[in-house]
């Protein structure tokens, strides 16, 4: 029996993959399923959850103004920050794709904000930069614009400070763009120049089409991460989502429901709605990609 087991190659495989399988079941599958269960319950952590059916979902869609506010804030944030960030990343990638001395240094320097970007420290730095005595106001003062509004405390501008923060963290997208740019054969550009195409035309007719799979990849990745943004909003608004709920991102509202008001069931339901919505948006982006993404090898489609 034992020797039979020993001879069985599968066992070795299972043993080696056990850490992942067990980890997946315990830390991923179990929490996912229990959060699905909680989303149908009223659960305040103090008492055991009680089944309420669809009540959480009903309340969310019909009877919670703040929920919709947070949805609109999040959509605003995603729609503004993702394209800006990608455009910025592409622009910097194009600049860094030149062969000049010390380019490695520049690349590292531009990647730096992304390395430290998600952290609490940067968000705190941001409150200093956009505060009433902050860097932005000092810079404006140099140009003769004297103001002491706090950009973070003003409901009209608070979300834009977060969007700026997101755009500033373009590094990882830039790196992927850069790799994509390196992959475009030089001959194409040379051939186009010979035919008299100028730089703008070369960019739109060669670079963009050949880069489109990379753009798709970045777009999806950044859209998902933008939907899940939490730390900057939490730190900049001190966990409140203010002023006037203008920075109340979806994940922040979810967090408030869970940990300020102890409504775990409701928060779990919110998480599931988010999952479904992000899933749908990702699918839609994939579907539209047929129209604008060009693969060099047609066979793979």
């Amino acid at each position: 029996m034992l020797s039979k087991l020993k001879d069985n190659n599968h066992v070795v495989g299972y043993v080696f993959s056990a850490p992942f399988i067990i980890g997946f079941l315990v830390f991923i599958l179990y929490p996912i399923l229990s959060s699905l269960y909680y989303s149908f319950t009223d659960y305040n952590l103090f008492q055991s959850p009680s089944w309420v059916g669809m009540a959480n979902y009903e309340k969310m869609f019909t009877d919670d103004e703040k929920y919709w506010k947070s949805v609109f804030v999040t959509l605003n944030y995603v729609i503004a920050s993702v394209p800006l960030r990608l455009a910025f990343a592409l622009m910097v990638a194009l600049l860094l794709n030149k062969t000049i001395g010390g380019i490695g240094l520049y690349r590292s320097a531009y990647y730096l904000p992304s390395l430290i970007g998600g952290s609490v420290a940067v968000s705190i730095l941001w409150t200093q930069v956009f505060g009433d005595q902050g860097l932005v106001n000092s810079a404006l003062g140099v140009f003769g614009i004297d103001t002491d509004t706090s950009w973070i405390g003003n409901p009209d501008t608070a979300l834009w400070t977060l969007i700026t923060l997101s755009v500033w963290q373009f590094g990882s997208s830039m790196l992927i763009f850069l790799a994509g740019l390196k992959n475009i054969p030089k001959d194409y550009y040379e051939a186009a120049s010979v035919d008299g195409a100028n730089a703008v035309r070369r960019f739109f007719k060669i670079t963009l089409p050949l880069l489109s799979p990379i753009i798709l990849f970045n777009l999806i990745l950044q859209t998902i991460s933008a939907f899940l943004t939490f730390t900057p909003a939490y730190i900049v608004s001190r966990g409140e989502g203010g002023p006037l709920d203008s920075t109340l991102l979806y994940s922040l509202y979810l967090y408030k429901r869970a940990f300020q008001f102890y409504e775990m069931g409701y928060a779990a339901a919110m998480a599931w709605v988010m999952l479904i919505v992000v899933g749908i948006i990702t699918l839609v982006i994939f579907q539209t990609s047929k129209l604008w993404v060009h693969y060099e090898s047609k066979g793979e489609r």
Partner: protein
């Protein structure tokens, strides 16, 4: 290629979402019990001496100075009771409650929890806290020098879920020098809100403001008390006041200050950390600050200049002034060492040496013996607070019962509504109506 991408993305997405929704199982569950090194005892026949080593977990909120002196008190206790080891957990107010929530779910609350009145109903009536009455009866918590009035502040019904650590009263702190330099006269104790409003233009001429803000969840209920109204109904299922006129009057007054530039603008207020270090009074930009008496000492320490104390206007209407337990210690239901926890609480409120370290920072001590012993040691600023609370005790009435479950959310709602009013997104009358509607919706969950 594309399909693999889809699968990968979907997986990554669901993993990160699930982690954010359900991954709060039981942080800090695996706390190693730190057995204290008990002094080796010679084998003597006396059996009562030998005490089992005990580990007490205690959690509180506060700023750095509170953390520092609390740790000193713990050290003192440990040196007097070598068999006890205390594991402290401390955080800011908001984080304190966020850390406790998952521990409730994991049935792993610290033995002693610093409790606030706004969370007392939630933790007490939902079965997380031990009734302390037996411990006060069997002497584990010595109450011989503590008045019944002080103790009852921790009761829900007949059960004592939290032990009062000190008394607080509402006050306003006035920078008399600034006021007189601006040409104003120091108001008397019997001042009114109109007197306060009248100071606005005087200070504005000097580029100063009245105060940065008044906490809505504190001062609106206080205003209601003066009108013989309650913020919350006795059964906790709705708001306690029937007429929106009170809301409208109070917020018309508040908006008046704001529109006249007598308060800190909201965009700047949003940046404040709420510590004395960045308070507008302490920085010399505002003539007053409004809050609880135990906060006064820190204010004047930070500002390095003395201030004057006045009662909050309206204190003499309907005996609105009240003494409130500044904070409590509670013992969690899941604690396995409740007797030892009770002894520590008794030590905290009764021991003179310990209170020489605490010096009333958690409110004026509830024990009359401790209060007497501290008197000669107080600084002039501390004396002001002790005197004010003593005066308030004579001129106050019973405080409101603890806020019902859901009050934390209603407090946030009030703040939101007030901000919308100040930003001119809502008229005061509409705000009053909307606040009532939404607050009652939250509180209706308490209906059985």
């Amino acid at each position: 290629m594309k399909r693999v991408l889809t699968i990968l993305l979907t997986l990554a997405l669901s993993v990160s979402l699930a982690a954010c929704a359900g991954g709060n199982g039981n942080k800090g569950a695996g706390n190693a019990t730190n057995a204290p090194s008990e002094p080796v005892k010679t084998e003597t026949p006396t059996t009562d001496d030998k005490k089992e080593p005990v580990t007490l977990k205690i959690a509180w909120w506060g700023g750095q100075s509170r953390h520092d002196y609390t740790l000193k008190v713990i050290e003192l206790y440990e040196s007097l009771n070598p068999h006890v080891t205390i594991e402290p957990e401390y955080a800011s107010f908001d984080d304190h409650w966020k850390k406790l929530a998952p521990k409730v779910a994991a049935n792993n609350l610290p033995d002693i929890i610093q409790m606030d009145i706004s969370y007392l109903s939630q933790y007490g009536s939902l079965g997380q806290l031990e009734d302390l009455t037996p411990y006060t009866q069997n002497g584990a918590i010595d109450i011989s020098n503590i008045s019944e009035a002080a103790i009852s502040g921790g009761k829900i019904g007949n059960e004592l879920f939290a032990f009062n650590l000190g008394s607080n009263a509402l006050l306003s702190v006035i920078d008399k020098d600034m006021l007189e330099k601006a040409g104003g006269t120091m108001p008397t104790q019997d001042w009114t809100w109109d007197d306060f409003t009248a100071l606005g233009p005087v200070l504005k001429a000097q580029g100063k403001i009245l105060t940065q803000d008044l906490r809505h969840d504190v001062f609106f209920p206080f205003y209601l008390r003066g009108k013989n109204q309650l913020m919350y109904a006795a059964d906790g299922t709705s708001l306690g006041y029937d007429d929106d006129k009170y809301f409208i009057d109070f917020y018309n007054m508040y908006k008046g200050w704001y529109d006249n530039g007598n308060l800190l603008s909201l965009d700047k207020l949003a940046q404040k950390k709420g510590t004395p270090e960045d308070g507008e009074l302490e920085l010399g930009n505002a003539v007053s600050t409004w809050g609880w008496s135990n906060q006064y000492i820190l204010s004047s320490t930070v500002a390095k200049r003395p201030f004057e104390i006045l009662p909050v206007p309206g204190w003499n209407e309907n005996k609105a002034l009240f003494l409130k337990p500044s904070m409590y210690f509670s013992i969690s239901k899941n604690s396995k060492v409740k007797d030892e926890a009770a002894k520590f609480i008794s030590f905290w409120v009764n021991d003179v040496e310990a209170n020489k370290i605490i010096m009333g920072e958690r409110g004026v001590p509830v024990s009359s013996a401790v209060k007497e012993a501290l008197k000669p040691l107080l600084t002039p600023e501390q004396t002001k607070v002790f005197d004010y609370v003593a005066w308030a005790e004579q001129n106050s009435s019973q405080m409101n019962p603890p806020n019902p479950i859901g009050a934390v959310e209603v407090d946030k709602l009030l703040k939101d509504t007030a901000e919308q009013i100040l930003y001119n997104k809502l008229s005061v009358a509409d705000g009053a109506a909307k606040f009532r509607l939404d607050a009652n919706k939250i509180l209706a969950a308490n209906k059985k």
